[in-house]
């Protein structure tokens, strides 16, 4: 990726390692990414690919048995990991906030939703009067189309869609420049999921914050994102504009596998294929390309070394020796 000074989020060669009973598990393995203001980056991958760990690392919220062992993450040019604890607390949410997968478990069950909302302002803007806070929260709720009367409710009294709307309102409360959204619609029904996606798009167009949108659903991500990064076994295997993933462009075999495994409604009778094999075992990672045991195009080179992200013709970057080779063959005619 080229150096860029306007980037709001810059992830440089980041590795995050978990200490598990079985051994070290590199959940994020030498990942580099950049995100421009106002863009939406889709981060796609399956369970255990490291996408949520990356999100936690950006927020500085890694669990106690995990650590960022390599690389640097800056948000708006500032490195969370060099800040003091109070400075980090003040920085977080004001500059980078987060929407979690399920607001049912991220909202405290015994505190009314409104009180938890107010907390954001009492922590970050203690000078604000209660009435001001109140007015601000109501504005925010109207923006996400929730009636302010629900502030008195507890989280379990709201429907899944309403909770997620509240979570979005909380995330934009301090007008952060970046919001991490970790599977924000996965727990919702199809119809509600699509409504929330539209809500996110609409609000994003008003507020122009940047988003890292994490999901396991490549189709959903290509619907909402401007750029997409596909992760496999802690590494980014493909990166490019979202448009690429809707077209018949050349893809990493894993990405292609994901695209082929989702049933579409288009066409008469379509076929779907799954990616053969099992998800990777992070503790006992294979040498070379982590995907090679499941890859039909794998050859010796893939076992020997891990491929790097390289540019391909149609504006994307792919980490795959097979594609590199095809690329070369085509170049030579």
């Amino acid at each position: 990726m080229t150096e860029n000074n306007s980037a709001i989020l810059r992830i440089g060669h980041v590795s995050v390692v978990y200490e598990t009973e079985a051994g070290l598990a590199p959940a994020v393995n030498d990942v580099s990414l950049e995100l421009e203001p106002g863009r939406i980056l889709g981060l796609v991958g399956e369970s255990g690919c490291g996408k949520s760990t990356l999100a936690q690392a950006i927020m500085g919220l890694l669990p106690p048995n995990a650590s960022l062992v390599e690389g640097q993450i800056t948000v708006q040019g500032r490195d969370l990991y060099t800040m003091s604890e109070p400075a980090m607390r003040a920085f977080r949410w004001k500059n980078v906030s987060m929407v979690f997968q399920s607001a049912l478990v991220t909202l405290n069950p015994v505190i009314p939703v409104g009180k938890q909302f107010e907390e954001i302002f009492t922590v970050h803007q203690p000078a604000m009067s209660r009435a001001e806070v109140r007015r601000r929260i109501e504005e925010l709720l109207v923006l996400v189309r929730i009636h302010p009367q629900h502030l008195r409710n507890f989280s379990h009294e709201l429907s899944g869609g309403m909770r997620q709307r509240v979570a979005i309102a909380m995330a934009i409360a301090l007008d952060p420049a970046l919001i991490i959204m970790d599977e924000p619609t996965t727990a919702l029904d199809a119809v509600v999921q699509q409504e929330i996606l539209d809500e996110i798009r609409r609000i994003q167009e008003i507020k122009r914050f940047a988003v890292v949108f994490i999901s396991h659903d490549l189709r959903l991500v290509s619907y909402i994102s401007s750029e997409i990064a596909v992760m496999y076994a802690g590494k980014i295997v493909e990166y490019g504009p979202a448009q690429r993933f809707l077209s018949e462009a050349r893809h990493h075999p894993y990405t292609q596998g994901l695209l082929d495994s989702i049933p579409h409604l288009e066409g008469e009778r379509f076929t779907i294929h799954s990616v053969p094999g099992s998800p990777p075992d992070l503790v006992h990672l294979v040498s070379g390309c982590a995907f090679h045991p499941r890859c039909a195009a794998a050859h010796e080179a893939c076992l020997a070394a891990a491929p790097q992200l390289k540019g391909v013709v149609d504006s994307g970057q792919i980490a795959c020796f097979d594609i590199e080779r095809k690329q070369k063959e085509e170049a030579h005619g």
Binding site: E19, P26, N65, E183, S287, A305
Partner: protein, 323 residues
Amino acid sequence: MAEMTASPLDAKDDGPRRAPNPSRFGWLRVLKKNRKAQAGFIIFMGFILVAVLAPEIARYSPSNTNFPPLQPPSAQHWFGTTGLGQDVYSQFIWGTRSSLIVGFGATLISTLLAVAIGMYPAYWGGWLDRVMATFTNIFLVIPGLPLMIVAAAYVHHSNTLTMMVIIGLTGWAGRARVLRSQTLSLARREFVWAARLTGASDWRVLVHEILPNMLSLFMASLLYGILGAILAEAGLEFLGLGNLSGISWGSLLYWANNGGAVLDGAWWWLLPGGLGIAVFGTSLALMNFGLDEVTNPRLRQTSLASKDRLSRAWRALKGESPQ
């Protein structure tokens, strides 16, 4: 009762859950990993050994009153003598045996009751379960020791068996509640349904599918049951409601108190009984620490990842693998 009808519509899940602990013998594996549990187990086995070998290691007959009274510890009388001229050490050894017998016996009775009242109806559900749950809750809130005192007072002269029965009959409720809630939660799991669908009888489902999955919790409640029974026995003995012709940790305390050990400054007479209970109880609680970690994975001591250590380990790992 405040029994809420679980909504059948809550089936949807938020995402993959952590896999439950996958070992039937998880409660045994604890001994390999948990230092506290190991210490507890060693002390526990020590007491068992003392109880089994009591006739061999006691130096005198515990009821022999021929020694000079109120002697402090000496080479002849390691723990000194009582106001009646008995050897405290021998009393302690024999007391260990009868205290453990009453403790284990009462726990056996209360456990059988707890299984019958807590687990079995919970599996079947319906009105029987509701009645039994209410029954359990009632016994849970009616204070145990006073109830035992009243029962023991009516019995008049207790012997070992009646003590066991009284303690067992009054001490099952806590365990029944634990077993019930476990059974209810396990019986709703898909694998239990699947077993039924494959034609397993209810008995098989209960014994083969449900019970092995709650062994750790069951063991934990058993440990506390034993502790509770021994404390109860000591309490009854102390009030003069026990088997006063027998010798147990509780009766040692009773005679020490009644014989004026406190006034006479005979600390050696006072300590063994109480310490026996306390140390034995501690061994049970220590073993329970380990079981807690089996049933509740979050309690497992995850080493806080130090960035330096992990970085080093990570670099070492990368150095090994060909890049």
